[in-house]
Each structure stands twice: as C-alpha cells, then as structure tokens.
Symmetry: C2
Subunit: 217 residues, 2 copies
DNA sequence: TAGATTGTTAATCGATTAACAATC
DNA sequence: TAGATTGTTAATCGATTAACAATC
C-alpha cells in the first residue's frame, strides 16, 4: 500500500539524496572536484557503505582511492531528482507560511518555482507577495489549465485543506505538497506529499522527555 | 549511529502516533467512544496489524470485537508523546516562517507553547508577533536560563542556522527543532530534529516525474 | 451463537551494515 | 608499492505483514 520505491529508487535513498547534494554543492563552491563516500558519510553521520549504495542509484561510478568527480555527481543527482529542470507551481493560502515558501529562493535550486499564490481573503487578493501576485482562488482552475501547472502547494488552515485539494485535483494538478496539519485524500493517480510537522515534533518531544528523565537520575 | 528507538518505541511508530491521535480526537469530537484498528487503518491507508502493534506500545488494551476505548487511547498516546504537559519554547528568526509557527495555535495540543521570538533585525525587535514579543537575540541566553527553556526553534536563513544552534546549546537548550535548510551540528546530549523540506520535495518531484512519464506512453 | 476483533507468534520483506576482492 | 577507496556480495537487523488462537 505504501510505495517503497519510486523509479526503482528506494524512498529512504531518495530522501537522503538532497543532503548529499547540498554537501557536495558546498564542496564544489570551495573549488574541490572530487569527494569520497567516507567524507560525505562523516559529515552527515551516516555509514559510508550506505552512502556508496545511495550514490550508485545515480549511475555514477567512482575511482578507487580517489572518489567521485563532483560536477558529474551533482548533475546526476539533480537529474535523478528532476531538479535539472525548474517546474512551475501554484500555492494556495497566502498567510505567513505561504509567504515564507514564496520568499524562499532556494527552491529554484530544488527544481521548484512558485509562480503565483491564491487566497479567498479580500485583504490578501491583489497584493504582491515577494514579487508574485496573490490571485483569487476562483481563478485557480482556469490558470492552472492554461499554464499547464502540475504542482499545487497547500498552506491553508486545516479545515480548508481537503476542499483546496479537491479543487486542485479538478484543475488537473498531479502532485500536491500539503503543509496543512491534516491528511488530504485524493484519487489514485494524484500524488500527495504531506509535510507532517507533528510527526517530527513527536520524535523531538519523546527524545527530550527521555533525556530529561535520564538527566534527573 | 542513527537512533531507531526512543524510550523503547521505534521511531516509525512514534511518527505515526500523531496521525492516530488526530483521527481519534476527531472521532471523539463526534461523540464516538470506541474505535477499532481496522477503522483507523482504513482511514490512514495502513495495515491494521501495524496499527494494532503501534497502539500496543501505549500499553492500552482493547476489547475483542469492540475495539479501543477512545478517551483512554487519547490519554495514553498524549502521555507517551509527552503532550499531556505543555512545554515552553523559544523561537529564533521572526520572519514569515517564524510568524507562521508562532501563529499556529494547534501546537498547544501537541505539547508545545512558543513563548517568545528572537531576532537581530531592529525592524522586528520590539514588535509583537501573534501576541508574543519579539526580543533581541542578545537576551536569549539570559532568558532561556531564567525561564528554564529546553526547546529552541530555528527559523533563520541557512547561513545563520549553525551560529544560532551554537547559541542555543550555550544557553542550555536541550532540543532544537531546526527549520533552516541546513543541518546543524551539536554536541552529543543535545537533540536536533531537522525538518528537511528538501527530502519531502525529492519524493514529490521524483514521483511526479514518474507519473508524467507514464502518462505520455 | 457467530463473527469481528484483539493479542501474539511466525514469516516475509526491505534496508542497513559487514566483509572483501578489485583497482587506482 | 602500499593503502585508501570503490563495487559487490553476504549477513544482519529491524519493520511490516501474515497467520491464528483467544475472546467478547
């Protein structure tokens, strides 16, 4: 029921690749042109064999004793993730969270370009958000179809998340990045990626409780 | 190297518990007082046995043919996650993302209360953010110690994440929830939970590419 | 009672780690 | 050359799923 592989790449691998990419991009910026698994693994506190296996999914081969050629590695990871082409996206919910995502330039380096924000609040519609217009939600379907938008980002309050998701599906959106603290349901064929902050917080809270308890002994 | 269990609870279980909690809280609000694993599993599209095993970690026992008593289940999950007590937290970075987190009331139901925001930008310091003051970062260490704050939330740009983390560690913070798109390093004994949006986006991008490719055939 | 659901043990599956030959 | 690192296969580990008796 849960997809464990995408395109033959295990999901855990897929989730680690951006960390590798970030690190080797930083290395590239310092002028280095080769890197070993050992080096990456140390920085990210992972097992070197795990890194090697992950990198193998990109098809890149390294040189024994030397490592991997950084420019080729960057290109291969970007290509595997589809980040070598920037895809346009629409965002719904022009609140603080929406504004934060609109204002983050780094997404361009992750293949994502948020081209417009939508809202129903008349105080927000018509304003500019980080050089992008805030449009009324009524215009979503028409514009999404005309501009061939495939990615929708949900940053509305919990109670409106499902209706926004429904609108996105009707408008031909193929992938939804959901930041609302509610699971949204969509027909099969449409992808949903839920950003579950509560899952992250659960790990944090429980770890903290465990260390505080240990500290008192 | 990676912790797979916290307090004897596997991390994957820990990450699913908030979803269960959200669902059964919603059921409780409709007046229901029992729920079966089958019912939870269907809603969240998980295997019923998996849900049963996860719920067993809370220590709650169900009744065959009936299910679990909802109020006891809610209490047990909240207790396990430490969400039955609200913990105060400080946030650093009063930008849009910081404002979004400050304004989200739902954290109170997740055991988290952000009591103040800090920044170095003179245009932000002194202002109010969702009824909480924005203070100068210089005051972080002193106030954290005096108020016995254990949780720090980082919502500053990438390039300042590590220095903020260092300050938090020096100030006695025991757990850092890091929203900056950069891994921060801390001494052992301090917990870091990184919210890696790029990991989530990697899964979304790759799935989308796979379905678009499939659609063209 | 009959049947749905729990609790529990065993089987499977997949991800991570260990071992080691090949090689630059 | 010697030693570090790759690529690859095998072993381990842990998480999920299947099977099934107990029970309300």
């Amino acid at each position: 029921m849960i997809t464990t592989e995408v395109n033959g790449i295990p999901v855990p691998t897929l989730r680690r690749l951006p960390s590798y990419l970030q690190f080797i991009r930083a290395l590239a910026a310092t002028g280095r042109d080769v890197v070993s698994c050992t080096h990456i693994a140390e920085h990210l506190r992972l097992d070197a064999t795990l890194v090697r296996k992950d990198l193998q999914t990109t098809g890149i081969v390294g040189k024994p004793k030397v490592g991997y050629y950084i420019p080729a590695l960057i290109e291969a990871i970007e290509h595997l993730l589809g980040w070598d082409n920037v895809t346009d996206a629409f965002l719904v919910g022009a609140g603080n969270l929406g504004a934060a995502l609109m204002g983050y330039d780094g997404f361009r380096e992750h293949g994502l370009n948020i081209v417009a924000a939508f809202d129903v609040d008349p105080r927000k519609v018509g304003r500019m958000l980080h050089d992008k217009q805030v449009l009324h939600l009524d215009r979503f379907a028409d514009l999404a179809a005309r501009m061939h938008i495939h990615i929708g980002i949900i940053t509305v309050p919990e109670q409106h998340a499902q209706e926004v998701a429904d609108l996105m599906v009707l408008s031909g959106i193929k992938a939804i990045w959901n930041f609302a603290p509610a699971d949204v349901h969509v027909p099969s064929g449409v992808i949903v990626e839920n950003v579950r902050l509560s899952a992250s917080l659960a790990v944090l809270s429980t770890r903290l409780a465990a260390t505080l308890r240990a500290g008192q002994n």
